[in-house]
C-alpha cells in the first residue's frame, strides 16, 4: 500500500516537473486555436488531465512539450469534429492561396522594405491578424513562430507530412503578412501601395536536390 502511494506521488511530481511547466505555452496556443478564452481554458484543462491519465505512455526523456501539443491538437480537432463549416472555409482559402502562387519573386517570408510598420501596430491588431488566419494555417504559424517547434515536430503534432507543414507555414506567413500590412494601411501607417509579388513555397528537398545536382556550384 505504502509503495503504491510513493509511486503515485513520484508520478505526480514527474508530471509537475515535465508537463505542468508547459501550461503557459499550452494556454497561449489554445487561445489562438479556439479564439475564445473560456474554450481555451477548457481545452488546456482537458489536455492536461488526459496527459496525466496517459502519462505512463509518455516516454521519459522525449519531447514532453511536443507530446502535450499533440494531445491538445487532437483534442481540439475531436471537439470540433462536427463542425463542417470550418472545412469549407479552408477549401476556399486553399484555392485562394493557390492563386497567390502565380505571383512570385522571393521567399523571405516576412521580408519587407518597410518592416518598421509592425512596430506601430498595437498588440490587439497583430493578435487579430493571427486569429483571422484559417485554422490549419493559424495553428502551424503559431507552432513555428510562437512555440519554436521544428518542422518535424509540427508534422508530428498535427499529423501531416513535413512538406505540408512547410507549404502551410509559407502560405500562413504570407497571409499573416498581408493582413498585417492591410491593418497598417488602414491605420495610415503605410501608404496604400500595390501588393508585392509572391513566390511558391520553398522546399528543403528542392534545395538539397539542386545542391545534389551541383545546381550552382
Amino acid at each position: 500500500m505504502i509503495f503504491g502511494n510513493a509511486k503515485k506521488r513520484r508520478q505526480k511530481d514527474a508530471f509537475h516537473a515535465e508537463a505542468l511547466v508547459h501550461m503557459d505555452a499550452l494556454y497561449n496556443a489554445a487561445l489562438y486555436m479556439t479564439r475564445d478564452a473560456r474554450k481555451a481554458e477548457d481545452l488546456v484543462q482537458e489536455t492536461l488531465l488526459k496527459a496525466f491519465r496517459y502519462f505512463h505512455r509518455y516516454q521519459q526523456g522525449t519531447n514532453c512539450k511536443a507530446w502535450l501539443f499533440r494531445i491538445m491538437t487532437n483534442t481540439h480537432i475531436n471537439n470540433n469534429r462536427s463542425k463542417r463549416t470550418e472545412m469549407t472555409y479552408l477549401d476556399e482559402v486553399d484555392s485562394e492561396a493557390n492563386s497567390m502562387q502565380s505571383f512570385g519573386e522571393h521567399s523571405a517570408f516576412y521580408q519587407n522594405p518597410e518592416q518598421g510598420y509592425l512596430h506601430q501596430l498595437v498588440h490587439d491588431r497583430v493578435r487579430d491578424a493571427v486569429e483571422s488566419l484559417p485554422e490549419d494555417y493559424r495553428s502551424i504559424v503559431v507552432l513555428a513562430d510562437l512555440q519554436d517547434f521544428s518542422y518535424k515536430e509540427i508534422a508530428e503534432i498535427v499529423s501531416c507530412p513535413i512538406g505540408t507543414v512547410m507549404s502551410r507555414l509559407h502560405r500562413g506567413r504570407k497571409m499573416l503578412q498581408k493582413r498585417l500590412r492591410d491593418h497598417a494601411v488602414e491605420q495610415g501607417i503605410l501608404p496604400a501601395v500595390p501588393e508585392k509579388k509572391e513566390q511558391e513555397p520553398t522546399s528543403l528537398e528542392d534545395f538539397r536536390r539542386r545542391k545534389g545536382n551541383g545546381g550552382d556550384r
Binding site: 500500500m1 502511494n5 497561449n28 496525466f52 517570408f109 509592425l118 513555428a144
Partner: protein, 289 residues
Amino acid sequence: MNCEDVAKYSALYLDNEFDAPERAELVAHLGQCADCREMLKAEQAFRETLREKLAPIETPQYLRQRITAEIDMLSREAAKEERQELFWGWARAIPLIAAAAVVVVLVWPEPHTATVDSHPGDDAVAYEGVPANPVRAERSPDGVRAMTVSYPSPVSANRVQGGDSARLSLTRFQRLPADVRGSEREILSYMQPRVSFRLIAPLRRSANVQLVGARQVLLGDQPAVLFVYNVRGQRVSVLQQPSLAASVGSVKLQRRGTLTVGTFDRAGTSNTVVSALSPAELSPALFHR
C-alpha cells in the same frame, strides 16, 4: 550559395532547419554580401517584433489552481484504488474472514439478522438498470423480516461503464460504511442516525414503486443518502441531501440522453432523481408533479 538562394531559403535558415554545412555556406555568403545581410537582418527583426507583439499571456491563476487540484485528486484516487485492489485481492482469498470482519465493523443497531452481501456487482449504483434478480426484503421461513447489508464493493461503483476513460467518475464512496436493503421503514431507521438531516422517503410507495435499498454517500463533506427504487422493474436512483429551501417546488423531469433526470424539494430535503424510465413513467411515483 548566391543571393538568389539566400532570398529563396532564408526562411529555412531562420527556422533553424538548415544542417551545419548548409548553414556554413549561407554564413559564408553573408560575409561577402551586404545586401543579403541587410535582408536577413530585416526579416529577423520582423520576426522578433512579431513575437514581442504576441507576447505570451500568463495562465490565469484560477485555471492553474483548478488543474493542479484535479491532478491531485486523480492521483489520490488512483493510489486509493490500487490500495483497495490490494485489499480486496486479499479479502477474496479469505472470504469468510473478510465477511465476518465486515459484519463486526457494521455494528448493527437492531437485532435483525444481518448478512453480508458478497455479490460485488449488486451495488454498482445509479446508472444501471435493476439487476436481473433484484434483491428485495425477504421473509425468512419463521416470518422474521431478514435484512441484507452489504459492504460497498471497492471497484464496481467507481468505474464508469462504457470505457470512456476521459470521463471522471465523480462518485467515490469506498470509505463509507454500508449499503442497506430492506423495507422502507428499516432502511430509513438504519440511515437516519448516519445523516445530519431528517430523512424522508423520496418517492410515493405503491405496488409499482418499491424501495430496494439505500447507500450512504458524501456530497462534499455532507452525508447524503442515495435511495435505490425499483419502479416497474427499472432502477430509479434518488440522491437526498438537506435543503435550505423551505418551499416545496414543482418537479421538473428532463430527458438527458437515455436518462430522465429531475430535482425536487420535499420536507427539508433536496432530491435528485435519475432513471432510464421516461418522465411519464416516472412521474406517478413522485409526490408532486
